[in-house]
């Protein structure tokens, strides 16, 4: 392994980790808070990127474009939510349907499969041409988003969303409209993903119709790595979200190492899948051991 080349790649990994960390926080909201496996993410990431790039190409301010990307993501979440709560479609399938439909929507938004936006001609918020700035900007975004979410999930509405994910029966018994809370949770999550898409498109200098493929797995990887490695230290909600961001950064560092070991970029999907599978397996296998240990203890007593 070429250590020098790896060290050169690390700052880029950190920048990517911070950007994808925003997506991972979105995934955390559905997967962990709402207990809802939402696959909309693969589509809404590109929707956010597409909306932002097209608006900037038409001369809009990049921050306006960013907000619109967030709103577009929220609309995608709304659609998934309606599929699920109003039409009774199972959670996973609702997300798959939206994700599939979004492919066509994203093509319509962009007009072709790839829209480039050059940092030389446009005033982008961040770009891989200036990695330190990208790290600073995306780091600020993460900090601001975590602060807002920490506040929101402490409000009456936020707590009722957490209660819905934790115990739906109890939530309804306490008068919470769990259909509404689920939809709001999905919208917030995909709004975050839309913003991540807008930042990522600027970072890589284009929006591509395939940019979201497998995004859910990367998001899950960050959530799970963050949970397994930092779950014991970070107990507070805001710190858990920080753990998710660290998880995303670590993921991209691992990817950089893997690339340095000589794997092709096309191998990365397999690597991602295996990383997620491995980190999902760890708590499960540990749990199995604990159960066996308990049984043994009882038999001895």
């Amino acid at each position: 392994m070429n250590v020098t080349a790896l060290m050169k790649a690390v700052p880029g990994s950190v920048a990517q980790g911070l950007i994808w960390g925003l997506l991972a926080i979105g995934v955390y909201i559905t997967y962990k808070v709402l207990d809802y496996a939402d696959l909309t993410v693969d589509g809404s990431l590109c929707t956010g990127g597409a909306v932002a790039v097209m608006l900037m190409l038409s001369g809009y301010n990049p921050y306006v474009a960013l907000i619109c990307a967030g709103i577009a993501g929220m609309l995608a979440g709304l659609v998934t939510g309606i599929f699920h709560v109003a039409f009774g479609i199972p959670a996973i399938l609702s997300g798959i349907l939206t994700q599939l439909g979004l492919y066509s929507v994203n093509m319509r938004i962009m007009g072709k499969s790839n829209q480039a936006i050059s940092v030389d001609k446009y005033n982008l918020i961040l770009s891989l041409r200036d990695v330190p700035k990208a790290i600073l900007v995306s780091g600020i975004f993460c900090a601001v988003m975590i602060t807002i979410l920490y506040w929101f999930f402490g409000t009456e509405l936020g707590r009722s969303i957490r209660a819905t994910g934790n115990n739906e029966n109890m939530s309804r018994a306490q008068g919470i409209n769990t259909k509404t809370t689920k939809v709001i949770g999905l919208m917030i999550s995909n709004g975050m993903v839309g913003v991540a898409g807008a930042l990522y498109a600027q970072y890589q200098g284009n929006a591509d119709v395939n940019m979201g493929r497998g995004a859910i797995v990367i998001g899950l990887a960050a959530v799970i790595i963050g949970g397994v490695l930092f779950g014991k230290i970070f107990r507070n909600f805001a710190m858990r979200l920080v753990g998710v961001i660290f998880g995303a950064i670590l993921y991209f560092v691992v990817i950089a190492i893997v690339l340095q070991l000589g794997l092709e970029t096309t191998d990365l999907k397999l690597v991602s899948a295996l990383i997620v599978a491995a980190f999902l397996a760890v708590p499960y296998i540990k749990g199995q051991h604990r159960i066996n240990g308990k049984k043994g203890g009882k038999a001895n007593a």
Binding site: L157, S160, R172, G175
Partner: protein, 264 residues
């Protein structure tokens, strides 16, 4: 306070697993009635409570709580009128949330939940006082996750949550069945005290005949989806387990043998 008129409910209609759970159920409760409900497995006891709570819509009939027809209201809207405690201690509380958060969720039952902070310092003081009355030491553990509590502690907390906002009707669905006898007795005594203090109207399903006789001012026995026996007033006060068994065999024309009730 509560009127159930000709309630019918069939699960899995027109299938091999069809189950006619409620068949023309009628029940009227007066303000302040504390009714214990017994009956064999599948008699429709829990189904009746679920029909009142709106877990699913009934096939036909009418449910009126304190003059309001709630038959068509979804579960979360009926929650304004109802306090509920379930058989499984896991059901009534959110395990990954703190004790005070659970109480704060219950405190806002029937209110619009907006962007105000989810719990105030003033509430916290009230919760401490209330938790102290449970005598379980929970008042010093406001920030502990509910998942760390024992089954009995969770049921006591659920009971507190169910009555934090005074409900029109308290529904206790075998809420002591999953507890050990000592804890069950404690939770039952607590239920008695809370019902009396607030002058609540309550329905309590139980598998224990002695409990059904010892608590409340009225006892109903269910069988085959409707009420087969309704004992109140002086008659209820003098009731014994033997009376009850005998009345049951008369009412249903069969022996009360297929049930855990006989064992306790």
């Amino acid at each position: 306070m509560l009127e159930l008129k000709e309630i019918y409910k069939t699960f899995n209609p027109n299938s091999p697993s069809e189950k006619k759970a409620l068949k023309g159920l009628n029940l009227t409760l007066e303000q302040g009635d504390f009714v214990t409900i017994i009956g064999g497995n599948g008699a429709g006891k829990s189904t009746m409570l679920n029909a009142i709570s709106g877990v699913w819509p009934v096939d036909s009939g009418q449910i009126v709580i304190d003059g309001v027809d709630v038959t068509k209201l979804p579960e979360h809207k009926r929650a304004i009128y109802l306090g509920r405690v379930f058989q499984d201690p896991m059901t009534g509380t959110a395990a990954d949330m703190e004790i005070e958060e659970n109480l704060a969720l219950a405190y806002r039952r029937g209110q619009t939940r907006g962007l105000r902070w989810g719990i105030t310092a003033k509430e916290r003081g009230e919760y401490k006082t209330l938790l102290k009355t449970l005598d379980l030491g929970l008042e010093s553990r406001l920030r502990a996750k509910v998942g760390l509590l024992s089954g009995g502690q969770r049921q006591a907390l659920t009971l507190l949550m169910a009555t934090l906002k005074k409900p029109k009707l308290l529904l206790l669905d075998e809420h002591t069945a999953a507890l050990d006898p000592k804890t069950a007795a404690k939770v039952l005594a607590l239920s008695d005290r809370i019902i009396e203090e607030h002058g609540l109207t309550a329905l309590m399903v139980t598998h224990n005949m002695k409990d059904a006789i010892a608590h409340g001012n009225r006892l109903i026995m269910m069988g085959d989806g409707h009420i087969v026996l309704d004992i109140k007033g002086e008659e209820k006060k003098k009731l014994t387990v033997e009376d009850l068994l005998q009345k049951f065999s008369v009412a249903s024309g069969s022996e009360f043998v297929n049930d855990r009730a006989l064992l306790s």
